[in-house]
């Protein structure tokens, strides 16, 4: 059961990672807020201190999208990809990449409305389990019968 205001993170298959969130709004509105360049810069900002510097959305199959942010300290972040499939207001398939050297993911966004609330599920498909685990660092937990828990606690001791 997913409650409003909390993001659930799961791994539905070996190559996937999913984020689920319930919004207290009908899905037409959620779809607009997620896909319109007029709306996106109002909320897709991460923690305090970041501002969105680029928000380009060409919402059609084959259309490109590009988002960029800058933090107060000058750190920059860029995300881009291409739309593959768009079914308003329920489904979007798009590629996503954090830039050269990163694994490109194929993301499927699904919106389901019930009683005026919308459940959003964003599923990211990685090229391999290794790529997903490296990106999510969950590989730290299995590490071929060796104890990566120790490494995890070692890392915590550093922070």
């Amino acid at each position: 059961m997913t409650i409003a205001g909390a993001t659930t993170y799961t791994t539905p298959s070996e190559r996937e990672f999913a984020m689920t969130r319930v919004f207290d709004a009908p899905r037409e509105l959620v779809f607009a807020a997620l896909t319109s360049p007029e709306h996106v810069p109002h909320w897709l900002l991460g923690p305090d201190g970041w501002s969105m510097t680029v928000c380009e959305i060409d919402l059609r199959p084959g259309g490109a999208w590009r988002f960029a942010w800058r933090r107060d300290d000058g750190t920059e972040l860029e995300l881009s990809g291409e739309y593959r499939e768009i079914v308003p207001p329920e489904r979007i398939v798009q590629t996503e990449s954090w830039g050269a050297g990163w694994a490109e993911t194929l993301n499927t966004l699904a919106l389901i409305e019930e009683d005026g609330r919308t459940t959003m599920t964003q599923t990211m498909l990685y090229p391999s389990q290794e790529a997903r685990d490296a990106a999510l660092q969950t590989g730290m937990k299995d590490g071929a019968s060796m104890s990566f828990d120790r490494l995890a606690s070692y890392l915590e001791s550093l922070s």
Partner: protein, 110 residues
């Protein structure tokens, strides 16, 4: 070829044997021979993994010509851990904002 340090770290961590080697090194420095034993792998095969880890800055090798013990270098790993944490925090914070923003849109609609 990975274009930035974090990508090089991810590429190096993408292999389960290399992750296991790193886990072993949290116990302390080890030689190639010691690292080969639990993996049923040849010395050269392990050495190949070690070169990838060394290039990514995840391990360093001692200077004694014969033994060249491998040591874990924690800094790049910590950057990966921070990145994974940042990623989650980024989306959590954004969706929290989206909750508020959707309420504003709903009020405007009425």
């Amino acid at each position: 070829m990975a274009s930035d340090p974090l990508s090089a770290t991810f590429a190096a961590l993408a292999d389960p044997t290399r992750r296991a080697i790193l886990a072993r090194l949290t116990d302390g420095a080890a030689t190639v021979k010691e690292l080969s034993e639990p993996f049923a792998m040849s010395g050269p095969a392990v050495s190949k993994h070690l070169r990838v880890l060394e290039r990514a800055g995840l391990i360093s090798r001692g200077r004694q010509a014969q033994w060249r013990p491998c040591r874990l270098e924690a800094r790049p790993l910590k950057e990966v851990a921070d990145w994974a944490e940042d990623y989650r925090r980024f989306w959590d914070a954004s969706y929290d904002r989206l909750d508020d923003y959707l309420q504003q849109l709903k009020e405007k609609d009425q």
